[in-house]
């Protein structure tokens, strides 16, 4: 009876843990989708509200899309790695002692021990895949951060004059200030509101109350876009990428079965994200030095 009870409890615990892991993975996907959607909403609202250019909208949307799903499938990466390996003229020779040494300039047809060579080829492909993923991650990090910083700096250095189209008809001071007027039809304004743009916005958007509040809102929008995109990058490229991030050891044992609302889906350390990117660069430099010396 004791054995049966302990066995039942063990089975229940194992089942709970398995269901917990399955639900955690599903929730991770849901989290990525929601965060990506929030980024798209912010980008669209910035375009609608502050009349940014269409190129700004398209560029930000492309960056958001790349961060949402940063890596191609492993099949494509494996094919690319195999292509690189086919072009490589380094052969693998196995010594009688069991060790395998790479000789530059050898032909591939002289490989010995197919099973060991296949296993080593698989490891080589995996290493190449990891290296490609790290390069993609580095490129996305620098691209995303540089683009957002560029937009923020440009907004701060060159603030927008929202009332420049209203040059002919200033609103009266003591009346409703930002109420649209049917007599304001000028550059970009129709009935006193911004309605134009590429997507024929029929509802219209009122001008801000003042230039200061308008530019302040614009900067806040751009900072929020930066925060959301960096968080999404940390989630997709570092925490959930299975490259070099190790989830911190769990202090308490998991007694949850995934259905009580206390599933901790992800733990994003932002400082470790930047540290990982910078160290990854250093590691790549070390690898390049090693390969050069060899």
């Amino acid at each position: 009876m004791d054995n049966f009870e302990s066995t039942a409890e063990g089975n229940l615990s194992i089942g709970n843990k398995r269901v917990y892991e399955l639900r955690k993975r599903n929730f991770q996907r849901n989290l990525v989708n929601n965060l990506s959607f929030l980024g798209y909403v912010l980008i669209s609202l910035e375009y609608i509200k502050y009349d940014r250019t269409v190129w700004t909208l398209i560029t930000r949307a492309i960056v958001q899309s790349l961060i949402s799903s940063p890596f191609p499938s492993d099949a494509k990466l494996r094919r690319l790695a195999t292509l690189g390996a086919d072009n490589n003229t380094t052969g693998v020779a196995t010594l009688p002692g069991g060790r395998s040494i790479r000789f530059p300039g050898m032909f591939g047809t002289e490989m010995l021990y197919n099973s060991s060579s296949e296993a080593e080829q698989q490891d080589h492909d995996d290493t190449a895949i990891v290296s490609m993923k790290k390069q993609i991650r580095k490129f996305l990090f620098h691209g995303c951060l540089s683009l957002n910083m560029l937009f923020i700096i440009l907004t701060i250095l060159f603030p927008i004059d929202f009332f420049e189209p209203l040059s002919g008809s200033e609103p009266v001071d003591d009346g409703p200030k930002n109420t649209p007027s049917p007599f304001s039809n000028s550059d970009g304004l129709l009935l006193g509101e911004r309605r134009g743009g590429l997507f024929l916005q029929m509802i219209g958007e009122r001008l801000p109350k003042s230039n200061f509040s308008g530019n302040l809102g614009l900067v806040m929008f751009e900072f929020s876009i930066l925060i959301v995109q960096f968080t999404l990058f940390s989630l997709t490229c570092v925490v959930l990428a299975d490259l070099d991030f190790e989830e911190p050891e769990r202090l308490e044992p998991v007694n949850s079965d995934g259905y009580d609302g206390s599933v901790i889906v992800a733990r994003i350390p932002l400082n470790k994200t930047m540290n990982a990117i910078l160290n990854d660069g250093n590691i790549n430099d070390n690898n390049e030095n090693a390969s050069n010396s060899v």
Binding site: K24, F27, N30, L38, P176, M202, G261, I264, V265, A276
Partner: protein, 322 residues
């Protein structure tokens, strides 16, 4: 596996109505240049011109396009409330929120401007636009009755070391500043965007509306427990499709099919009787196939009888049938 409501608006008529209203009313008002009647301000419209109809209609149309987009998205995320409460109660809740938030905002505005607002720069002049008060009232219900599914953490501070030993984890956890976020961050973000998008008026009206939502839930503002909006049961569906509903629909369909079969049998019998009773008259399409037999059988009795008159379509069909 996931506990989220299904994507889409199947069997959610109130959410559909709310989204359509949120999107169509500003569009039509803007095209017809009538958006200004939805703008609610104290100084020229209520105090001077006494246009009190604006209090009744200002929640139906958001002046700005960005507010319209945010409100439509929030209404879509609130479909979980309709799924939880049922369509009839959800519609009642929306109507009650609209009434109580309008009265609350108006009353507090009058009180404020009667006493504190005597000075010009302390006057409360601007109101929110669109269905922000209703949405902020419903946010309380969403927070109260929607369970948390998962949570995720963002570690803002902490040591930069990459070691992951036990002691380092302990010290790291003690010194780190973690920001816990749950799965409803999308709705929280949209609500925050909506409130900040409308400035101080959004913050003030939003807070008042949220308090109205709490009072409706606790019973201080009556109506939700004992009253349902009348005359709308016919237009609201019976709820999401379940096994019982599907069975009821199948039974109804079966009954309809049986009735149709009975009608067809009666029609066939009537056609046969008609054929037997009056041969020379114009016959329906179904009975025309029996005419040649009847004619041939009656050939001896009436040698001079010719074929009965047939419409042109029937002649074409008979020609191709033979």
């Amino acid at each position: 596996m996931s506990m989220e409501p299904p994507v889409g608006l199947t069997a959610m008529p109130v959410t559909k109505l709310a989204m359509i209203t949120t999107l169509v009313v500003p569009l039509v008002a803007s095209i017809a240049s009538y958006k200004h009647i939805f703008l609610l301000q104290y100084d020229p419209f209520l105090q001077t011109y006494h246009q009190y109809y604006r209090l009744l209609i200002f929640q139906f149309c958001a002046i700005n396009e960005s507010d319209t987009v945010i409100l439509a998205l929030i209404w879509y995320l609130f479909r979980h409330l309709e799924r939880l409460l049922g369509s009839h109660k959800y519609l009642t809740l929306i109507v009650l929120s609209w009434a109580y938030t309008t009265l609350g905002i108006w009353g507090l505005n009058l009180i404020w401007n009667a006493f504190i607002g005597q000075y010009k720069w302390l006057q409360w002049n601007n109101f929110s636009t669109g269905s922000l008060p209703i949405v902020l009232s419903l946010v309380h219900f969403y927070k109260e009755y929607t369970p948390q599914i998962y949570e995720w953490n963002i570690r803002l501070l902490g040591p930069r070391g990459g070691a992951s030993s036990h002691n380092d984890n302990k010290r790291e956890d003690k010194s780190a500043v973690e920001w816990k976020i749950n799965d409803q961050f999308l709705l929280n973000g949209l609500i925050l965007l909506l409130i900040l998008n409308q400035g101080f008026a959004g913050i003030l009206c939003g807070f008042i509306s949220w308090m109205c939502g709490i009072f409706i839930d606790k019973g201080l503002l009556p109506g939700l427990d004992h009253w349902r909006i009348p005359f709308v049961s016919y237009f609201i569906s019976q709820g999401p499709p379940t096994r019982a509903n599907v069975a009821i629909a199948a039974n109804a369909a079966t009954n309809t099919a049986a009735a149709r079969a009975t009608v067809e049998a009666a029609t066939a019998a009537t056609g046969n009787g008609n054929t037997g009773n009056s041969g020379p008259t114009s016959l329906p399409l179904r009975g025309s196939s029996t005419t040649p037999t009847n004619t041939s059988s009656a050939g001896d009795d009436e040698p001079g009888a010719d074929e009965p008159a047939r419409p042109l379509g029937v002649q074409f069909l008979d020609t191709f049938r033979r």
